[in-house]
């Protein structure tokens, strides 16, 4: 289980890095989203995925899975949700102001 998850995390990070390094702003934002999902998977794997039952009373009678990584991931998801939403608004405003979604063009604005 852990082995497969780690490989999946690796693939996701590869995809995310490819997207992050592109020039298109929307791709960069998608890249940050994929990147955060990769790390959420990593967190749950590190907490020992696939071992133990659902950590709820009445659902199973132990041993329970470690519930802490799930709490951490929920928090991390909320934060990445907020950041992604902010990035989308920012990208839209930048596009409105500069008329471009290409990072190369935007970087040139800066130099002037």
């Amino acid at each position: 289980m852990e082995f497969h998850m780690i490989i999946l995390v690796g693939i996701l990070v590869t995809v995310a890095v490819y997207l992050l390094l592109s020039r298109n702003m929307i791709r960069i934002i998608l890249g940050t989203a994929v990147l955060s999902h990769a790390v959420h998977l990593l967190l749950i794997t590190m907490g020992g995925a696939g071992e133990g039952g659902v950590p709820l009373l009445r659902e199973s009678d132990g041993p329970y899975a470690d519930a802490l990584p799930q709490a951490l991931i929920l928090t991390a998801i909320v934060i990445s949700f907020a950041t992604t939403a902010f990035l989308l608004v920012l990208a839209y405003r930048t596009y409105e102001e500069s008329g471009s979604d290409n990072m190369n063009t935007i970087r040139r604005i800066d130099r002037e």
Partner: protein
Amino acid sequence: MKENDVILRTVTRAVVFIILTFGVELFLSGHHNPGGGFVGGLVLSSALVLLYVVFDIETVHQGVPFDFRKIAAFGAVISLLSGTGAAVLGKPFLTQGFGYFDLPIFGLTELATVTIFEAGVALTVIGTVVTIILSISKDV
């Protein structure tokens, strides 16, 4: 969406109530089972977003005349104050209490202060999600 959206409109009218009910159910079940303020709030806000997509913003605003930024702020204030209540009683910040009460219709029910906290979280989520969607979609 000027074209043939009769089906979408008709379905939405029914579906919105199903989504809202499901959202409330998720919110209340969060005490012992999967669910809670964050997920419940997301589902509730998805109902609102569906309304905004199907009908235009002005129409929805007539029915739901709230400033969602204020709802988000209000929810956050509730969450923070629910933690402060414990501090006033001399317990550590965010301590929650619960008790069993015999209510007229529901019978013996567990009431917990954590629900207040969760209600704040749900309101914050609804306010934030709708604000984000509205600010992106403002003048498209």
